[in-house]
Amino acid sequence: MNFDYNEEQQLLADSVRRFLAKDYGFEARKKVVSSKDGYSAEVWAQLAEMGLTGLPFSPDFGGFGGGAVDLMGVMEAAGDALLVEPYLPTLMAGQLVARAGSDAQKKAILPQVVEGKLKLASAHTEKGARYNLSKVSATAKAAGAGWVLTGEKAVVLGAAAADRLVVSAITGKGMSLFLVDTKDAKLKSYVTLDEMRAADVVLKDSKGELLGTEGGAQALVEEVVDYATALICAEAVGAMKYSCDTTLEYLKTRKQFGVTIGNFQALQHRMVDMYVSYEQAKSMACLACSKVDSPADARDRARAVSAAKIKIADNARHISQEAIQLHGGMGMTDEMKVSHSFRRLTMIAQQFGDAEHHLARFARLS
């Protein structure tokens, strides 16, 4: 039993934190958010330089073969800084390639991802499917040596930034994955509440390349969504920590009735409850990341990830709401970073399944 990051993990997390503190402060981030593409090519190059785009991929392709636990500190730092770069979408789609792709596909894609030259996004969710991962109605049919895909995908994070999309679609044999060039799809892009970029993606006889076994995508999609869920649990922990720390700081400086408001027991106890929520959430993020790294038992993994997501969703709501309340009117304003953490935590609570979805899934797996 050991809950510390090892030396490498700690060094990496520290260097990411230093970089983000220096080059990705609240003002710098604002510029990225309001830029045309909603991400920064320079920052992306830096992330690649630091090895972050290569971290979870095999050394065979230039990566470092890291797992979710190796990414925890990075994701916490990302949550703290409210990173909007399409990092998670690239990792997620990259994992689908790494786990399903042929040697040729992996060789063609992963080294470029590792080097920061290629960005990816995964297009799975459709309108009306809610969080049900098996509900896909986009279709693919064989056309010559390849495939063509038709259908619509909703809220594909990082789609416009991505060079290639990993798209799920139904063939005669069931759910399958395909690589689609982003330029072969029609994108309707927008900004999300948490200031990332997403798009609704329309495919109409769009060219696709089969990724993995035809009809064999279901379990893999679930596995990679669990992986990504564990990562956003860690990201949430970073955003929660920021929200708690900045609120505590506010309680120690804001004066009313002649004293700092941290003197009021009504607020002290709420602040304590926020920290307790944070510690409980952190524990569950540790559990989720550890379980997605140990491939042994899919049911055990899924159960742990759902348990973690229930706690993360509940506590993200608790901490973000209290952070705003304790800041009073200032917390409501766009000027304060805490309101942006609120927006990210609000979306994390619902990303890859809200608490109710995971309560039902946990019960099914128990």
């Binding site: 039993m1 809950f3 636990v69 002290q268 106890h269 304590v272 920290y275 959430a281 946990f362």
Partner: protein, 395 residues
């Protein structure tokens, strides 16, 4: 990061589990399972079984019977006891008076009291709270006047858990009321409950149970050699006791057992629609949230233990977090258990003598009532929040 126990730790767990299985008497196991009141003999019997095995005071130094277990082993032991459903080890001697004697006692006091505590020859209770001194402990008033070779004690203690079983009581008393600071002038005294002038009056709780008492002291003579540490320095002793390592504050093993039990009988209860209650999504979601909270608490607890093992530092204010969450979970489980039996939660003690009566079901509502105490005792959860606020957050 590795959330798994080491091979050695798992082997230790197996050893403890196996031993408990073989040595926990069936009648005690049944009483715990049915939430029945334990007698003095029940409690001491289990104490002595553990003492004989050498496991009754794991944290004590080896020379006084301790085990040399590290913090993780101690945690595993307590978790297994909770999970197996053993009677509790009454803390007043083993984890309160004992550590105080070890830290502050004279060689004579140690020799006199420690073996009795260890072997379960005497039953101890705690005299801290008074009618006017609950959370605000330093306001205590019980007086002890030095008269030659003894103190003359007058006053009252309250909430004295198992005082009606006790042979001895350790008390915080005021030996000097002239001090400007209320924390000064308090002393720590050991008092034989058989001393003339002591009266114990039961306080029956709303579940009908007798576990706490009022203790009255009227001109009670206590020999000066029963003073621990210096006169007037009792607050130092009391603070040491509060900060003393509490491994099992979250009561995770016991809550795991209750959760498993609740799941099991919720599966056997019929819901309104004829299907098992366990499949009712409204009930199920409540139960799952408690289960997840317990998982999180367990990992949080392990994270603190891991830190402690490495730093060698006592846990400090983190223990307050375990107390808050642990008691919230215990209360939620007792509430859901009562809720699970629906209208059958209503029968109270009247029919308890009927041999056909389901004692387990009848115990659920009283237990719910009883468990409201957990967020009040041992420093109310509001006091725990004050501690975290001050110590950890610096507010």
């Amino acid at each position: 990061m590795d959330l798994n126990y080491s091979q050695d730790e798992s082997a230790f767990r197996d050893e403890v589990r196996g031993w408990l299985k073989a040595n926990l008497p069936q009648d005690l196991r049944d009483k715990i399972a049915n939430y029945e009141e334990l007698s003095r003999d029940d409690l001491l019997r289990w104490h002595r079984i553990l003492a004989k095995k050498g496991w009754v005071a794991p944290a004590w130094p080896k020379e006084w019977g301790g085990t040399d277990w590290n913090v993780v082993q101690r945690y595993i032991f307590e978790e297994e006891c909770g999970f197996a459903g053993t009677p509790p080890l009454i803390p007043f001697g083993l984890t309160m008076c004992g550590p105080v004697l070890l830290r502050f006692g004279t060689p004579e006091q140690k020799k006199r009291f420690l073996p009795q505590i260890y072997n379960g020859d005497v039953f101890w209770c705690q005299g801290y709270s008074e009618p006017g001194s609950g959370s605000d402990l330093a306001s205590l008033k019980m007086k002890a006047e030095r008269q030659g070779d003894h103190y003359l004690c007058n006053g009252q203690k309250i909430w004295t858990t198992l005082g009606h079983y006790a042979d001895w009581i350790f008390c915080l008393v005021r030996t000097d009321s002239s001090m400007a600071k209320r924390q000064e002038g308090i002393s720590f005294l050991l008092i034989d409950m058989k001393t003339p002038g002591i009266t114990v009056r039961p306080l029956i709780l709303m579940d009908g149970g007798h576990e706490v008492n009022e203790v009255f002291f009227e001109n009670v003579k206590v020999p000066v050699e029963n003073l621990i540490y210096e006169e007037g320095k009792g607050w130092t002793v009391a603070k040491y006791l509060l900060g003393h390592e509490r491994m099992n504050t979250g009561r995770i093993g016991a809550s795991k057992r209750e959760l498993a039990k609740l799941k099991d009988f919720a599966a056997k209860q019929t819901g309104d629609d004829g299907r098992p209650l366990a499949d009712d999504p409204r009930f199920r979601d409540k139960l799952t949230r408690v289960e997840v909270e317990l998982m999180a608490l367990e990992i949080t607890n392990l994270r603190f233990l891991d830190q402690m093992r490495r730093s060698g530092q006592p846990p400090g204010a983190d223990v307050s977090m375990l107390k808050i969450k642990g008691t919230e979970i215990q209360q939620a489980l007792s509430e859901l258990s009562m809720q699970a039996v629906g209208p059958l939660a209503q029968p109270f003690k009247a029919v308890a003598s009927d041999p056909d009566f389901d004692r387990f079901t009848a115990g659920l509502a009283p237990r719910y009532c009883n468990f409201r105490k957990t967020s009040i005792y041992a420093g109310s959860n509001e006091i725990q929040r004050n501690i975290i606020s001050k110590m950890t957050l610096g507010l």
